[in-house]
Amino acid sequence: MVIDKVKKVNKVEERVKNEKASDMLIGKWVKCDNCKEILYKDDVHKNYSICPNCGKHFRLSARRRIKQIADEESFQEIGTEIHTKDPLKFDGYLKKVEALKEKTKIEEAVKCGICKINGEEAVLAVMDGNFMMGSMGSCVGERITLAIETSIEKRLPLIIFCVSGGARMQEGIISLMQMAKTSAALAKHNEEGLLYISVLTDPTTGGVTASFASLGDIILAEPDALIGFAGPRVIEQTIKQKLPEGFQKSEFLLEHGFIDKIVDRRDMKNVLAELIKLHKKI
């Protein structure tokens, strides 16, 4: 990944700029991993972290995502009292998590809250791929479930931005059970007749795909995002051949009937607000 290389080059700067370390683009210049164009970082950020040259959607931190979606100053975070757990007492796990928190200034792989989107109130959960690849352990499952339950309690629409490498392996079976927990909570949400919009971003895989990501009343995706249950490498090892170009990308899922609409990041906020308005009880 080109962005990873850029990150390495700027390691010193990264340490200094702790606050911004959670973003994918660090340093003044960045090379687009799609069109190879050298881009001025500020231009990219002003353009919703989309390559101004080719339209490639770069990965976003939860913090930046919330800024793009929620009305200014409207996001009130919930679930900050829920922290990482270590059910397996897995060697070095909590230490690694603590070090990561310190380095990235991110609390866990999801941020949840209540906010307004073009004036429409909603519960918003945003996963963060910069924290252990957005993997779902107990903390992510608990926070997502709290977001679902808050949405039920307050009779608000629910929006979840997904990005995940899958289950948090270090939490073993407890991480697997978060799939059941979040799906059961969405079953309740569904019975209540409330709106749930799931937004899939690059990459959404594994246990998150096999639970809440796939259960939206409406499922949106960003362009060119990798979305699947099994990762491409696992599939290639299983079938012993290379996967065709574009396999498991947003456009492929749209073609196969598993998402409703691909939405450019620059339009995302307006599309979400419109969908919420269309579901308002008159």
Binding site: M169, I173, I174, M179, A180, K181, A184, G206, A210
Partner: protein, 261 residues
């Protein structure tokens, strides 16, 4: 004491009874029903209607083969989306006709193939869990061998979740876990010991409700005795659940998964 790794070997043993062995031993008049009414019939999941001491029930199980040929036919017990969708169809049918549901879990995981992805493996697993959370009939889930990943959980959300004494239930195989976290698949044995995958571990973590005792040396040594233990357990569980109102049962089912970790 049998180690976790030894249990992995026992759970995967070719001679170990598979879903159909238990179905034929515990129930009578089993009629297998096929297909998801959408794409095809996945032979890695079997299901149908049977009688349990005279009472009609719906039974569903992930089915591995015992010999090479059968294993190929059964895709080694790794379901495709149509398998989970067949299971869901049969569970909805059970709800319509007010039959309790019994599922047997035994899989190395959901199949990671191209077709599986094209047909929405993730969606199929997710949909099953969402629907199972609300089915208005008792659901008893039993891990009889290998319960691995979302592929197991897709038929594993129930009012009672039990494991056979030597079964294992995990996020993924110890080999997969070792290759990801230890960067060395040959450390599977160490992984198994650290992953908390045995029935006792999972009972301690409140992930399962009960452990069903196996005969000395493992289930393969005495099918009729273990089937008898299972039958008693299933009957007792259904009787217990029948005492609850549907609302109470669903609330308990929700709480059970809500409070895990």
């Amino acid at each position: 004491m049998i180690s976790a790794w030894e249990k992995v070997s026992l759970a995967r043993m070719a001679e170990r009874p598979k879903s159909l062995d238990y179905i034929n031993e515990i129930f009578t008049d089993f009629i297998e029903l096929h297909g998801d009414r959408n794409f095809g019939d996945d032979k890695s999941i079997v299901g149908g209607i049977a009688k349990l001491d005279g009472m009609p029930v719906t039974v569903i199980g992930e089915q591995k083969g015992k010999k090479a040929k059968e294993n190929m036919e059964r895709n080694f017990g790794m379901p495709n989306p149509e398998g989970y969708r067949k299971a869901l169809r049969l569970m909805k049918q059970a709800e319509k006709f007010k039959r309790p549901i019994i599922t047997f879990i035994d899989t190395p995981g959901a199949y990671p193939g191209m077709g599986a992805e094209e047909r929405g493996q993730g969606e199929a697993i997710a949909r099953n869990m969402l629907e199972m959370a609300n089915l208005k009939v008792p659901i008893i889930c039993i891990v009889i061998g290998e319960g691995s990943s979302g592929g197991a959980l897709a038929i594993g959300l129930g009012d009672k979740v039990a494991m056979l004494e030597n079964a294992v239930y995990s996020i993924l195989s110890p080999e997969g876990f070792a290759s990801i976290l230890y960067k060395d698949a040959s450390k599977a044995k160490d992984a198994a010991e650290n992953m908390k995958i045995t029935a006792q571990d999972l009972k301690d973590l409140n992930v399962i409700d009960d452990i069903i005792e196996e005969p000395e040396g493992g289930a393969q040594n005495d099918l009729s005795s273990i089937a008898n233990n299972l039958k008693k357990y299933i009957i007792k569980s259904i009787e217990e659940l029948n005492k609850l109102s549907v609302e109470e049962m669903l609330q308990n089912r929700y709480e059970k998964f809500r409070k895990i970790g």
